[in-house]
């Protein structure tokens, strides 16, 4: 029964186009499928030799795999873009190498499962020249790294603000000044991380529009709650002018929230202390659209920059408030999301007199 099962697994593994190999802690090859043999040029006899497992990788990647084998824990996954040489013809082929740590919890025997995908095959399948696999990996990398960055940033922020709060003893004015400088830049870093995550998420979900009933009033209340404290800290007046009742919408609520959130966040960010922000939400005269206006009293946008303001990674020369500087992603995503919801976004601005963003979104997405 068990024998039959193992045979079945082997048959399945031999139908896979990825090269699969299992390596033990002594770097001995203990199993590989036919695709692995074809990629590396190994023969059945080589398998008996055992110590051939890592020889086909470049030296630096051999070291990387050894390090993973030594330090990795059960369930961990790693991905390397590397090359693998073919013993028979001497050719070196680019591959994506996925490495999984497999540990038997009872016996503590650690093994590495290596899965090799030939990059040439992937490239041939990709219409844009960028291997699909690589593009996906890049996006996943941005997303994962950004999340990983948040924890150390949280610790640094808490440690520094602990000093600033005089919990551990009073600081003099000069020391407080530098603690404030550190905090300001930690918040700036957080902002960048958040934008990177937005970008990763946008790229992942840019095509899907999830249509659902949207209660605009609830959405606005959510934003009011979110920004009341920030506005108060900055002595900013945020005037929420919302028509009552607001029309029932059928659209993608999460995308709409992102659009509103970004415009309001920007307006607060760019407004000077003691300034004012107006958020006006109403339905259009024919009732087919919802019109949202977000107006700030910041420094405005120079005429030469208005056209570029929605470009990805474009950073306006607008001087935002203390500690806040964008990375040129927020407005670009707002623009693309508005288009996805079949709406429009426009900006009007006179340098020195603030900016007004107008968004028009169809009440019912069709």
């Amino acid at each position: 029964m068990i024998k039959l099962k193992i045979d079945s697994y082997e048959k399945i593994l031999n139908t896979i186009i990825e090269g699969i190999a299992i390596i033990d802690i002594r770097e001995h090859l203990i199993y590989c499928n036919e695709a692995f043999l074809a990629l590396t040029g190994f023969s059945e006899e080589d398998l008996n030799d055992g110590q051939v497992a890592l020889k086909n990788f470049p030296r630096e990647d051999q070291d990387a795999i050894r390090y993973i084998l030594k330090t990795g824990v059960n369930g961990q996954e790693f991905v390397l873009q590397t090359t693998v040489s073919n013993k028979k013809n001497g050719h070196r082929k680019p591959v994506i190498c996925r490495i999984y740590i497999v540990e038997d919890t009872d016996s503590s025997i650690k093994q590495l499962c290596i899965a090799l995908s030939s990059l040439k095959d992937l490239e041939e399948n990709d219409p844009n020249g960028v291997p699909r696999e690589i593009a996906a990996l890049r996006k996943a990398f941005i997303s994962n790294v950004s999340h990983e960055l948040r924890t150390p940033v949280a610790i640094i922020r808490e440690a520094v603000s602990l000093l600033g709060d005089a919990t551990l003893g009073e600081l003099n004015d000069s020391q407080l000044h530098f603690v404030g400088m550190a905090l300001k830049n930690i918040d700036r870093l957080t902002n960048i991380i958040n934008h990177l995550l937005d970008l990763a998420l946008f790229e992942k979900n840019s095509v899907d529009v999830v249509i659902e009933p949207v209660d605009l009033k609830v959405l606005i209340a959510q934003l009011q709650k979110k920004y009341c404290q920030v506005a108060e800290q900055k002595s900013l007046l945020v005037d929420w002018q919302c028509e009552d009742p607001l029309p029932d919408m059928m659209t993608d609520g999460k995308k709409l929230l992102y659009i509103l959130n970004n415009l309001i966040k920007n307006a607060i960010q760019f407004s000077e202390k003691d300034g004012a922000v107006i958020v006006n939400v109403k339905k259009s005269a024919d009732g087919k659209n919802v019109c949202i206006l977000v107006k700030d009293t910041g420094c405005g946008i120079p005429a030469s920059e208005v056209e570029k303001i929605f470009d990805m990674f474009y950073q306006s020369n607008r001087v935002p408030g203390p500690g806040e500087r964008g990375v040129g992603i927020g407005l670009a995503i707002v623009h693309r999301l508005t288009q996805l919801l079949k709406g429009q976004v426009e900006v009007e601005s006179v340098e020195g007199s603030g900016a007004t963003f107008r968004v028009t979104i169809p009440t019912i997405y069709e």
């Binding site: 999340h147 990983e148 948040r150 924890t151 940033v153 949280a154 610790i155 640094i156 922020r157 808490e158 440690a159 603000s161 602990l162 709060d165 919990t167 551990l168 930690i186 957080t190 958040n194 995550l197 998420l201 404290q229």
Partner: protein, 125 residues
């Protein structure tokens, strides 16, 4: 924090020990009685034995993750009424955490004042 004469008990379940230490200092200073666990299993045991007034819970932890702990806390009679604030580096999981029964949600890096405000709000309600 002057909700009553008796100190309120806060349990922090967080695998990042440095953050755990800072939060311990902060919350002790704010007159809370603080209990700390650096992994999910220890946190769950403490939740059952200490019966804290509120729990701060990280989600991404090695071993038993925060979601499992949240489900265990909210699924047991002895602990289901203890308010839980999820404090995590993962965003966009707020809905899932609230569905699992968490009463509060904060994304790292958080503002300590916001955290203390959320704790006090939940303790009053």
């Amino acid at each position: 924090m002057e909700l009553s004469d008796e100190k309120k008990k806060v349990l922090i379940i967080e695998d990042e020990t440095e953050l755990l230490t800072i939060l311990q200092i902060r919350l002790s200073n704010a007159q809370f009685e603080v209990f700390a666990a650096s992994n999910g299993t220890a946190g769950l045991t403490l939740a059952q034995s200490v019966q804290p007034d509120i729990i701060l819970l990280d989600i991404m932890m090695p071993g038993v993750d925060g979601f499992t702990i949240l489900r265990e806390i909210k699924g047991a009679d002895a602990t289901c009424d203890i308010p839980v604030i999820v404090v995590t580096a993962r965003d966009r999981i707020e809905d899932s955490c609230l569905l699992e029964g968490a009463e509060g949600f904060l994304t790292k890096p958080f503002d300590y004042k916001e955290l203390e405000g959320t704790i006090n709000r939940l303790l009053v309600s």
